[in-house]
Symmetry: C2
Subunit: 418 residues, 2 copies
């Protein structure tokens, strides 16, 4: 394998997580170890920044800031949901790469982003432009194929399980047989995140909160849920429910939309949590229903990140650089769980196309027969991912996060025209 | 002052906080130091537990559990919103006190609870039953009179400021001039909590998020707010708003109710955050509005508690016992800020009746002229209250909280009849 000398470009895409910046930190710190890598650039706002030639010089950032990236939520390079469509867009990307001698491209994102990276890589091959493209997995939704789990997932479920355990203390103090507490979890159409709330239960305490987890994988059955709520209220004096934002009924209709049009004639509802609250208040008039909707809080809660998750995100960034320097391309770094009884995790590689076109579903057999709780297989899978806490530096009582200087790289092309 | 020998009863009342249990821990640990105190009992669910003679033996709890109380959210003794009304209720309370030789009564709560404590104390005096009653301040709302601040407040605003700083990282990465992010803060009709979000700003960075804080003290002016949002979107590419749940318009109507009946004809809205989202989406159709409603999460977020707050809550519990043993009664422990430039805090005492009938308002002169941000006087007041972090013990990745055995004290009276 001939050594490929040139510059690195790293970009971030899709919704931020608590640990997506840790992967950038891993890429930068590993890139510094390889002499074949000359400059380390970042693309502002993912492919948008590439198209517009908005690049920054990451090597010009202070070491403190790069170190601080490891615990900084959001996406320090900026992100986008822009999808490259036209052939001319892809050609523009390569034009920018050539203008800045980008030979190593690292794209941190979910399956859409890996699809984009794949197409960029293939076009470079067609054009005979030597380029190594390695993706780094990122999504709180944990739905990427091949990889055992995704950086970002461990932190969001640690936060959710912590929140559930805390709210449970509050609810237990207040409950007089009438308090129903609902926490709405992200995760789009997958129940991975909502399922993670089950980590709030103590071992061998199946009646611990969350008492009811409503997953998109289990069609919403209003009567069954109301029966469950009544039973829990009687037994525990309060009922703590975690509802996935993507909860659907047997016909595939979202709960919120369903409640809005069929049950109460409302034009708009805040989401699954509010819709569920309305259903419960209507059916159980004595219930006092409280909804917590952490929303974006859950994917940016660096103060409650999983150290395991942060470390793996950093490791994935490092592995991406190592793989590229070793001649790999058109692949994504995966996380591979060891076979041993105690949890170990190494990195692997999978073709970008496999990631782009796949999706990992929450296994049905990990959901208990009651449909509202997770069994030991899920716990065995998820518990190792939330281990360890991150100690953040604080500035007058509030966490201190990285702020990049974002030194611009001179543009050499004509402006991009959409 | 003759030594008063007898038993202690401690109760918790009103909405839980992250540190109300720290006050219980302070009371128990100090009570152990005084030989005049024989038994240490807890009332389950505040005055309700007293009426029903539901008492537990706190001295029977393990030392580990009492230590763990210091960082456990919720209210470990249970709480209530029950208000004693009838004279016979008060007489029942004293009957229970006499039956269990309760000579020291510590009630942790807000102004309603201090009012209850005051009335119990006065009835005991009338009846010639020697009883020392000391209240301990508790409320995230920070609206108790006399005391400089209330245990519980520092932790809720530390959590809110942390959350705002984290969400800001996310929003900054995503914002393309169209992202409006709303966080709904508790605080009833006072802006103390929402104002605390301003601690997320760095010193001398007035444009830092939160860009707009909507306080109940400043009547909601829809056109002004929309102008502010548009200006911030242009300047920052995203706009982060903190809205107090008790926001009202110039006529004193709640925002949610107002939007529900006047603007869009909806019968029910989730709260001020959702109502504001609807107004913004309607007026600025290009805006993508995201609402986070931490709800009960904010008052139970022990994992993000202020160490200063926890320590002061514990101190207030200790001071309550010391005061009572020294012959004080019918008073509440207050927090008294030192005069020095650096923050110091001691405890003081104030008559229960003064607490019961007073309320502390957020000073108008601490709000900037723009009506949506706080000035240096507020920062000087609030910043010391959020200093320091609490390291929680963890159990398989989730914080481990106290669980009391709740060993029941034998009942000796006939059942309470309402």
């Amino acid at each position: 394998m001939a050594e490929l000398v040139g510059n690195v470009l790293v970009g971030q895409s899709g919704g931020p997580t608590s640990v997506i910046n840790a992967s950038v930190a891993g890429i930068i710190s590993e890139a510094l170890n390889h002499e074949c890598i000359e400059e380390i650039y970042g693309a502002l706002n993912g492919v948008l920044g590439i198209l517009q030639e908005d690049l920054i010089d990451l090597a010009a950032e202070s070491q403190q800031q790069i170190r601080a990236l490891k615990h900084t939520p959001g996406a320090a390079l900026g992100t986008c949901r822009y999808k490259l469509k036209k052939q001319s867009d892809y050609e523009r990307v390569l034009e920018v790469f050539k203008a800045h001698n980008i030979r190593y491209f690292f794209y941190i994102g979910g399956n859409d982003s890996q699809d984009t990276a794949d197409k960029i890589s293939k076009l470079a091959q067609q054009q005979g432009y030597e380029l190594r493209v390695i993706g780094v997995a990122k999504t709180i939704d944990n739905d990427l194929a091949v990889t055992d789990h995704c950086p970002g997932y461990g932190s969001v479920i640690k936060y959710l399980a912590t929140t559930v355990r805390e709210i449970a203390c509050d609810n237990e103090a207040m409950g007089q047989g009438d308090l129903v507490s609902i926490v709405e979890a992200m995760g789009r159409s997958a129940g991975w995140i909502a399922a993670g709330a089950s980590l709030a239960k103590r071992r061998d305490h199946p009646h611990d909160p969350p008492h009811i987890i409503l997953l998109p994988e289990v069609p919403f059955n209003q009567e069954k849920v109301l029966d469950d709520v009544r039973r829990v209220l009687k037994r525990e004096k309060y009922c703590l429910i975690v509802v996935a934002e993507g909860l659907v009924d047997a016909d595939g209709n979202y709960l919120a939309a369903d409640a809005a049009t069929d049950a109460f004639g409302h034009a708009r509802l805040g989401g699954a949590g509010d819709a569920l609250a309305e259903i419960i208040e209507h059916a159980i008039p004595s219930a006092k229903v409280r909804v917590a909707k952490p929303g974006l809080m859950q994917r940016s809660a660096a103060h409650c990140a999983s150290k395991t998750d942060v470390d793996e995100a950093f490791l994935a960034g490092q592995a991406a650089v190592q793989a590229a320097v070793n001649g790999e391309t058109d692949k994504m770094v995966t996380l591979v769980r060891g076979e041993a009884d105690h949890y170990t995790c190494e990195t692997g590689l999978a073709p970008l196309s496999e990631i782009a076109n796949g999706v990992k579903k929450l296994p049905r057999e990990w959901i208990n027969e009651d449909g509202v709780s997770m069994n030991f297989q899920f716990l065995r899978y998820a518990q190792p991912l939330i281990q360890g806490e991150v100690v953040l530096p604080h500035d007058t009582g509030v966490p201190l996060f990285a702020r990049l200087d974002k030194v611009r790289v001179d543009k050499s092309l004509s402006p991009f025209e959409t």
